[in-house]
């Protein structure tokens, strides 16, 4: 793998990092598997692409993704919290609805941006390459979001959000309207996911109606990879870890693509396998450990050392 490819992989990993941070908020902090992301990522891409296409400043076009993504999360949250629809189904409903909305926003299935200036061109005037400009801007956004999330999660409101995901019964008994907390968490999460979509569209030079398919699985894969590889416990550590997970995931994809008989279209299968393995491996390793313990205990008993082992 050459350096240029490695560099682009890194950049793309950072941009998908925003998606992963969004998934981290719902999946890990709120304990809520939110499928809205498959719709809110192309939503962000769609609004930004069409705005740039029609001549809006790329910065403003990118920022427009945030409130729209939040709105998508709000919708899912209301379906779940107000009308008691299960988390999975509320997410699916919003996601399907967004498919039509995204098409309406773009007016066609694909909006090309190749002839238009994007947010990543902002620094090329300073004499640095487009790739370096992408890295600088992506890093800046990621750092801003991580710091922002960390600060938010250490406020009273942020702690109530964390508590809601951990122990809803207790938080209600402490006077927290947990429904409102879930809606808030979903809104924040999906605004980040939409921002991710907005930046990815500009990075790849187009927005496509189908670019959201499987985003939730990619998000989960990255969250799990980051947690397993870095194994950190603190909140800021975990926020950084999942972004690293996103980069590692992109790297894994790039490596897999180099295997001769694998086509680009096989990637979704690969991702599904990866997430499956990641989800079941803790259970398997637990069983191995138990079997090992049992074996040790039996060994001890044979030697008449059972008390030492047992105690």
């Amino acid at each position: 793998m050459n350096l240029t490819l490695l560099w682009s992989t890194f950049n793309l990993g950072l941009l998908y990092g925003l998606l992963v941070l969004g998934v981290f908020i719902t999946f890990r902090i709120l304990n809520y598997a939110d499928l809205t992301v498959d719709g809110s990522l192309p939503l962000g891409a769609a609004i930004t692409a069409i705005l740039i296409y029609t001549g809006t400043n790329p910065f403003l076009a990118t920022l427009a993704a945030l409130p729209l993504g939040a709105l998508a999360g709000l919708m899912t949250g209301i379906l779940h919290a107000r009308f008691s629809i299960t988390p999975l189904l509320s997410g699916i409903l919003t996601m399907i609805g967004l498919y039509s909305i995204n098409l309406r926003i773009m007016g066609r299935p694909n909006v090309p941006l190749l002839k238009h200036g994007t947010i990543f061109d902002a620094l090329t005037g300073l004499g640095i390459s487009l790739r370096a400009s992408q890295t600088v801007i992506a890093l800046a956004v990621i750092i801003l979001v991580i710091v922002g999330l960390y600060l938010f999660l250490s406020t009273e409101l942020g702690q109530a959000l964390r508590g809601t995901g951990d122990n809803e019964v207790m938080l209600r008994s402490l006077g927290v309207n947990t429904n409102r907390m879930k809606i808030l968490g979903l809104a924040i999460s999906n605004s980040l996911v939409a921002l991710s979509g907005a930046l990815i569209a500009q990075y790849q030079g187009f927005a496509d109606i189908n670019m959201g398919i499987g985003m939730i699985v990619i998000g989960l894969a990255s969250v799990i990879i980051g947690e397993v590889v870095l194994g950190v416990k603190s909140i800021p550590g975990r926020l950084c870890a999942v972004v690293v997970g996103s980069i590692l995931y992109r790297l894994a994809i790039a490596l897999v693509l180099r295997i001769r008989f694998i086509e680009y279209t096989d990637l979704k299968l690969f991702t599904a396998l990866l997430v499956t393995i990641a989800l079941i491996s803790p259970k398997i390793s637990k069983r191995f450990k138990q079997a090992h313990k049992l074996a040790v205990a039996e060994e001890g008993q044979k030697d008449g050392l059972s008390e030492k082992v047992g105690g």
Binding site: F152, S154, T155, E156, L157, G158, Q159, A160, R162, G163, D166, N167, V169, M170, L171, R172, S173, L174, G175, V176, N177, T178, K233
Partner: protein, 283 residues
């Protein structure tokens, strides 16, 4: 039956005291109109004076937890009213009552947030019933307060402020839950068999803690227990539920001479049934 006839002075004081909790004519029916309809509470009338510590006993399915859940707002009753300190709360959602009601659960896991640290749990409890703002959740001053309060538990938790609660033992978690409940003084405390899932030695410690944090502080308390001995020793008044009704209500004067055996006799007399050989007897 409620007021002791011999103790005139106490009677007078009781009447002077405000009713902290006033439940009247309360009904709760589950699965109304279906085959498995269950009348969980029927015509419950109960007044608790401010500072009264009441133990609640009764067999399985007697309606003890349903009563507590109605007061806490988890269930909305089908009929009747609940007033807390003069204000009607019958239909208020649970999180809106939380400012004045604290709850301790049977399972220590329910009373604390496992993945969060000791100080984060305490900080959440310190703002019980308050609006959660966009300001730092734990200040240095509060940290010091937490350390002082934890030191009084004598469990060494004051050195473990940043330990995730899931690493604590069941007893430690329940002690922490008790402290969290009293961090903001509640008007009413609801304890639902909070020692039942602990080993006997730890249960005793938690009970002792209940005495110092609730009884001695004169916090109006309703405490469900399966243990008759416990029900007689704790607090100032005992009520017994059976099939959704209050069938026994004895206070201090009458309670003094009471033993577990007599309590069972009273149960027979009041319910007209033989007490089955369930947890209530064995406890």
């Amino acid at each position: 039956m409620r007021w002791p006839k011999k103790d005139k002075k106490m009677d007078y004081q009781r009447k002077l005291a405000v009713n902290m909790l006033h439940i009247s004519n309360l009904y709760k029916i589950f699965n109304y109109g279906e085959v498995n309809e269950k009348i969980a509470l029927q015509n419950i009338n109960l007044r608790l004076a401010a500072g009264e510590f009441v133990t609640v006993i009764g067999g399985n399915g007697a309606g003890k937890s349903t009563l507590l859940n109605c007061i806490a707002g988890v269930y909305i009753p089908d009929q009747g009213t609940i007033h807390l300190d003069g204000r009607e709360i019958t239909r208020l959602p649970d999180y809106q009552r939380a400012a004045s009601i604290c709850r301790i659960f049977q399972d220590p896991m329910t009373g604390t947030a496992a993945s969060m640290t000791v100080e984060e749990n305490l900080a959440l409890a310190l703002r019980r019933g308050m609006k959660r703002r966009l300001v730092r959740a734990i200040t240095e001053k509060e940290r010091k307060l937490f350390r002082d309060k934890l030191a009084r538990l004598e469990l060494g938790l004051e050195y473990r402020l940043t330990t995730p609660v899931k690493l604590l033992s069941g007893g430690q978690r329940q002690a922490l839950a008790l402290l969290m409940a009293t961090l903001v003084r509640p008007k009413l405390a609801l304890l639902d068999e909070h020692t039942a899932s602990l080993d006997p030695k730890t249960a005793l410690r938690v009970l002792e803690l209940t005495r110092t944090l609730f009884e001695k502080e004169n916090i109006t308390t309703l405490m469900i227990t399966h243990n008759m001995e416990q029900a007689l020793r704790m607090g100032t008044r005992l009520i017994m539920l059976h099939e959704g009704k209050i069938i026994l209500d004895v206070n201090d004067g009458e309670r003094e001479g009471l033993t577990v055996a007599k309590l069972i006799e009273l149960f027979h007399a009041a319910s007209g049934e033989k007490l089955q050989n369930d947890r209530l007897l064995l406890a």
